[in-house]
Structures are given as C-alpha cells and as structure tokens.
C-alpha cells in the first residue's frame, strides 16, 4: 500500500531564508509524486509534480522538489521565502498502476516570520 510521511508538522522560518519541507513515501511500485499548497480558508492548489524523467522538478512561486528513489523522498525547497508563502503544504503520492487514488501526507505548516 502507498503511504506518505511528512516529517515536520510545523516549520517556522524568517523571511528571505531558505526552507526545506521533507516528504518520504512508501510504495511497492513506481509512483507519481505531488506537492500541493493550501492557503487559509481555501482549497488545495498544485505546486509541482513528478511523473518521470528529470528528478529535479520546478513548480510555481519559486518552489522546486527533488525525487530521490533510493531514499524514497521528495523534499520541497525554496531558496528565499516570502511572508505570502505562509500556508500548509501537502505531499501526495499515487501509484502509476492499478486503481489507487492520490494519498496525502498529514501536512506541514510553513510559518514565515518578518
């Protein structure tokens, strides 16, 4: 069965500092990987996705993530955060075979402080 672990429930960081949000997954087959963001009182929006090919994926708002198959990780990074990046971030996995739908992690709340 597929599963996702987000290792940090909250990450406080100062504005213009770099940030990394960690995500590890478990699956017995190849997977698709996603990062979604949820701003307060809104639904989720896609930041970026990995389907195949280059392991470094660039997304919207300056975020990027790197797929590491040997470590089963898909960590999200941004070199310099803004106050407006304050939100909850969800990692998600979907096996690329069978009928399984997307499985989300428990989320990481990014708090950007001035």
């Amino acid at each position: 069965a597929q599963s996702v672990t987000q290792l940090d429930s909250q990450v406080p960081v100062f504005e213009e500092a770099p940030v990394e949000l960690r995500c590890n997954y478990s699956s017995s087959v190849s997977v698709y990987l996603f990062w979604y963001v949820q701003y307060p009182n809104q639904g989720l929006q896609l930041l970026l996705k990995y389907l195949s090919g280059s392991t470094l994926v660039k997304g919207i708002n300056g975020f990027e993530a790197e797929f590491n198959k040997s470590q089963t990780s898909f960590h999200l990074r941004k070199p310099s955060v803004h106050i407006s990046d304050t939100a909850e971030y969800f990692c998600a996995v979907s096996e690329n075979k069978g009928r399984r739908a997307l499985t989300f992690g428990s989320g990481t709340r990014l708090q950007v402080q001035p």
Partner: protein, 112 residues
Amino acid sequence: DAGITQSPRHKVTETGTPVTLRCHQTENHRYMYWYRQDPGHGLRLIHYSYGVKDTDKGEVSDGYSVSRSKTEDFLLTLESATSSQTSVYFCAISDSRNEKLFFGSGTQLSVL
C-alpha cells in the same frame, strides 16, 4: 478556476441523521474524489469514482456511501451521522490519474 461546486458550504446536523453532500462539476472530467480534512491527519480519501457507476472505497470509507449516476455529479452520503464525522469535506476532480486534482471550496460539516 475549474468548475467545481460543493453544496452545501456549511451544515450543522444532529447525531443519527442522514446527510448528503453534493459535488457538481462542469469540466466533464472522468475522475472524482471525496476527501475529509482533519487537523493532524491531512486529507484522507473517503471514496472515489473513475466513471459513471464506477466507485471504490478509500482509506476512511466506513460510515459513508457514494453515488455517481451522471458524469457531473458525485454524491457523498452519511447514512447516520456521528460526531466523529465532523470535518471539512473536499471534492476533487481530475482528467487522468497522473494529472493534477482540482479541488472544490469544501463543506464544513458539524455533527452535534
């Protein structure tokens, strides 16, 4: 924005009553999903549908049923609501399994 409408947006109900949440899409997407969001748990999949009358259970399906008689509508029913079903419910759609999900605005359900 993708055309997804969830109704109602807010509902307060009593334990033991039936409740139906509706998700309506105008995108003609094949895949539709119901998730619930709870603090500390992220989003957990309740049920999903890969087409009309083609539905399957997710990880937290107990106490919920779904129906999809038309491409555009995906109904989630709580046969007998319990306080543990107090949550925010999100509907999502996608055009294929490796494409992004579009989410509705959510339904806040409180079971007293």
